[in-house]
């Protein structure tokens, strides 16, 4: 029981990750894939931040009278991860726009059909 209480946070995060992952691999619409990828990445960020939390800790900013802080290292790592995520999203969306111009569609199946016949 204490295991469940201690870990359910992580399990829900795993569920979120898998939802995002599922959207990426199961859906054919390119924009939906990009959004799924984003959900997947954001969930990984939630996982790292959950790891850093300390019970009764404070945000890691040195303040008078505060001695117990949450761990600042996962925060730093995830700042980087967020930025990497938006960079990837920006590139992916630009590609979607160009693909739409070139193929007239953003559905994977349509594009496949066009590529096979050309």
């Amino acid at each position: 029981m204490s295991t469940i209480l201690g870990l359910y946070n992580y399990w829900i995060v795993v569920l979120l990750m898998m939802t995002g992952f599922y959207i990426v691999i199961a859906h054919g619409n390119l924009i939906k894939k990009v959004i799924g990828l984003n959900i997947f990445q954001t969930s990984v960020i939630i996982m790292y931040i959950s790891m850093g939390k300390v019970r009764d800790g404070a945000p890691p900013i040195l303040t008078e009278g505060v001695t117990l802080f949450s761990n600042p290292l996962p925060h730093v790592l995830m700042l980087t991860a967020i930025v990497v995520g938006v960079a990837t999203t920006a590139l992916a969306l630009s590609l979607v726009v160009r693909i739409n111009e070139a193929y007239g569609s953003i559905e994977e199946e349509d594009i496949h059909t066009q590529e096979k016949s050309s």
Binding site: M51, L95, I99
Partner: protein, 493 residues
């Protein structure tokens, strides 16, 4: 001062060169500047390798903060060797790019390509030289994003879908690595590779670490295009500009393999990876399939770039097969093939670029009578092809030889047979090209084609010649590969 800071300079030179090149704007200025940057990078790699061979492992604390609180750059024989391959190919292909990119891309895109190229080079070197697990992720993304930019510049609209697929799969792989590193971090509290190697054995028997191992390995295998995670590679190589394919094919997967070795051997350790986890067997099975099936698919390709792309998937199989043995001989065979395949595939794609420059096509039909119209280019392709087959006197033979020896050392006779079967398959697709080029007449309009210009031909022949040189003089490559393998397997002291 320079020699003390070589590890940092290795990455800083291309990384700083990229935005500076961007500020220069005009392609006429950008290309020479980029070329200069790549040459300085090679010189740094040579210096770095020399330093490592003389003095042993180099540890450099970024920002002056000692590890594990700061990021450490840690250079040993293994990564100095890989860094040299990456920067050498970076410089040679950049020289070639001057003419090739002017021909293949509209003027306003040329500068952007060269900047992306420099960023990719910086990213790949950053992955290679670092000693911090999270730093690997950051520079992996730098190199991946810049590769997507380069590939997307291909002329055919399929370059766009190829890039998109590459982006999706590549990001999934990188995120898996991030998850794996996170799981390792939560159990040990550190990100530094040496520190991880020392702290992991205490917690190695936990399900979290098993899971971490799985995620990191799967993520990296996606990046190195191990069957069945290779789906992004054929199209990405086929539709990218010639220069992009030549550079990426000779470097990106090799660096990914290095990352695999670093995690599996240095951080997790040989005992954990091969005894506790069934990594050896899984890699062996996948490698065998990779050697046989993609090579067969290659035979049926009519787009020659795609043919050699599938061939690359097969060659990665050879490298992984060597690694799957988990022995010094096996890992050295793998490292040797990293070097030799980088040269061989580099030469082949450079030669294909010459062909594309003159004919505008990389279809099989363009090969008709090529032996007559473009003798030097075709000769380069033949020599490269022989290297893929593993004919004696080529570099490819040396690595195949060591691979077979490593297999026999373990008593795996059937695997030696698989390696030879792969050679046979390669010989078949090589023969297809040879037959068309030398035994058929060129089409009427194709008969007008001249040989490729010197600015393209010289780098191509240089790399091709080196595949023969390193097939004969093996002291450097075998020597360093063996030292590197011993360092990796020996673990961290």
């Amino acid at each position: 001062m320079i020699s003390a800071n070589l590890p940092a300079l290795q990455v800083i030179i291309p990384l700083l060169a990229a935005p500076l090149a961007f500020l220069l704007r005009k392609p006429r200025l950008v290309w020479p500047f980029a070329l200069l940057a790549t040459i300085l990078t090679v010189l740094t790699s040579i210096g770095l390798l020399q330093q490592v061979l003389d003095e042993g492992v180099i540890s450099y604390a970024m920002g002056g903060w000692s590890p594990p609180w700061g990021i450490e750059y840690r250079v040993d024989a293994a990564n100095a060797y890989v860094a040299l391959i990456v920067s050498a190919m970076g410089a040679i292909v950049m020289f070639y790019a001057g003419t090739s990119i002017r021909h293949e891309l509209p003027e306003h895109k040329q500068t952007l390509f060269h900047v992306a190229y420099l960023l990719c080079l910086a990213g790949l070197l950053g992955i290679t030289v670092t000693g911090d697990a999270f730093n690997v992720f950051v520079f992996l993304e730098v190199s991946s994003l810049s590769t997507y930019i380069m590939v997307s510049l291909g002329a055919n609209r399929r370059a766009l879908t190829a890039t998109f697929q590459y982006l999706i799969m590549g990001t999934l792989g990188a995120t898996f690595i991030l998850i794996g590193v996170g799981l390792m971090y939560v159990m040990t509290g550190t990100l530094n590779m040496v520190d991880l190697a020392q702290r992991l054995p205490e917690v190695a028997d936990s399900r979290t670490i098993y899971s971490a191992f799985a995620f990191v390995t799967v993520g990296v295998c996606l990046k190195l295009a191990l069957f069945p995670l290779h789906g992004w590679l054929p199209n990405a190589y086929a539709y990218a500009p010639s220069v992009a394919t030549a550079f990426v094919a000779s470097t990106a997967t090799k660096v990914a393999i290095y990352v695999l070795l670093r995690f599996v051997l240095t951080i997790f350790g040989v005992t954990f990876s091969f005894n506790t986890m069934p990594l050896g067997y899984i890699l062996m099975v996948l490698a065998v399939i990779a050697i046989l099936i993609p090579s067969t698919v290659a035979i049926y390709q009519s787009n020659v770039k795609r043919l050699f792309a599938y061939s690359s998937v097969g060659q990665v199989g050879y490298i992984i097969l060597g690694i799957s043995f988990g022995t010094v001989l096996g890992v050295s065979a793998g490292l040797l093939h990293i070097f030799n395949h980088a040269l061989t595939k580099g030469a082949l794609f450079l030669a294909l670029g010459c062909l594309y420059y003159r004919t505008g096509s990389v279809h099989l039909d363009a090969f008709r009578g090529l032996g007559k119209t473009m003798p030097w280019t075709m000769a380069a392709i033949v020599v490269g092809g022989l290297g893929l087959v593993g004919v004696p006197l080529t570099a490819g033979f040396i690595s195949k030889w060591y691979l077979v020896m490593a297999a026999l050392e373990q008593g795996y006779w059937p695997l030696a047979a698989v390696a030879l079967a792969g050679s046979l398959l390669a010989a078949i697709y090589l023969w297809k090209l040879v037959e068309l080029a030398y035994f058929q007449q060129p089409d009427s309009d194709a008969a007008q084609i001249r040989e490729a210009p010197l600015s393209l031909l010289v780098p191509t022949l240089l790399v091709t010649a080196s595949t023969i040189y390193f097939g004969i003089n093996t002291d450097l490559t075998v020597g360093v590969a063996t030292v590197a393998a011993e360092t990796l397997i020996g673990g961290v002291r």
